[in-house]
């Protein structure tokens, strides 16, 4: 009985580890950057601020 329970627990544990490992492999290849994130300077943001009527 105990041996059966141990086998069951081991199988469940291996299953969880297997799932986790599978996820790691599936996500190990991320695509290259889609582009370059460039910070927008304040001057560029202020370019169209005038005349909206909102605060």
């Amino acid at each position: 009985m105990l041996a059966k329970l141990l086998r069951l627990l081991t199988a469940a544990l291996l299953g969880v580890v297997g799932l986790w490992f599978g996820r790691q492999v599936a996500h190990s290849k991320t695509p290259p950057p889609q582009g370059r994130w460039r910070e927008i300077p304040e001057s560029e943001l202020l370019g169209g601020a005038a005349g909206s009527g909102k605060s």
């Binding site: 695509p31 950057p33 582009g35 994130w37 910070e39 304040e42 943001l45 169209g48 601020a49 909206s52």
Partner: protein, 358 residues
Amino acid sequence: MRVLVIGGTGATGRRTSAELARSNEVTELLVGGRDPEVIERLTSLLGDKVHPAMIDTADRAELIAACRRAQVVVSCAGPAHEMEETAAAAAVEAGASYVSLCDDYDAGAAVAELDRRAQQAGVVVISGCGLAPGITSMLAQLAQDELDEVDEILISLALSYGDLPTPAHTGHLVHAMSSPPAVISDGKAARHEAGTSPQLIYFPEPVGWVETVAWAHPEVHNFHAAPLRALSVRCGLTERAAMDALRAARSAPLSSTSFIRRTLDVAHTLPPRGPQWSAARVDVVGTRRGRTVTVSLGVVDHLVNLASAPLALAAQRLGSGSHEPGVKSPAEAFDARSFLVALGRRGTRVARLEPVPI
């Protein structure tokens, strides 16, 4: 200006209170919460104009009485699906303007019903002016201003669980993951199945690529006036194991929020942990001079900053500016450019995605 912060002792509430305490426009700041010891300690740290306000948010009369002491009520109390409607209604009844961190679809819909009462009371109600809705609303407006016609808006969020592992935030994550996302599809409002259609989205560095799923959010209430073909919100956790655990919890009917929280507390520490930063990205597709163009804007910071900075700024502007009363979206109430400039001066910078030259 007198300001009351509800839920002022939580992670975001403390930061928002500190921001407001530094503001010259705020003459008196009431920090509300349930634990007298924590409130006393916090208010003594924040200076002379900050006072404690013991509030049991479950007691409506007590909440209204506290709101009467302020001109602007700021709510950081969560989770939003439990708190938002009560807090907004109390502020309107007390004759105070209201702004919150709410990002829940159903709560947003309930607050929209307060529009007539808010107009009669001469107050402004903004349900959600943190990261999203809030910063993302301003980014969407900024992108829309660059286009002649707007066709589609996609809002994507990458949240670090380790950034804000509080019970209220976890409760909100679980609720959002199990609620059907509201979208605009082919020009019509619709609800999709929660937690579906996983997709990798590229966020500003150091966050980078994050797997996101369709997410329940209230933005569909804010863009109802614009004739959009499509609008959707996606969200993912930067810690992959925590995201897996959250998705698994959605389909496990017997798991309680506290059990999921304990699971996420462990899962978010498992490798690969991903960057401990949060980010948002807004893609707006439209036409400019007859050509189809996509404008992609984003922000990156710690979640507590991305939530508290716009909230505190909105409260200051509500108190000092003259706004048309009623229930408003952040982009209806404030000028997107000047709002983003003010946020930039507080350290939250906006970035634009540009193609890498070959």
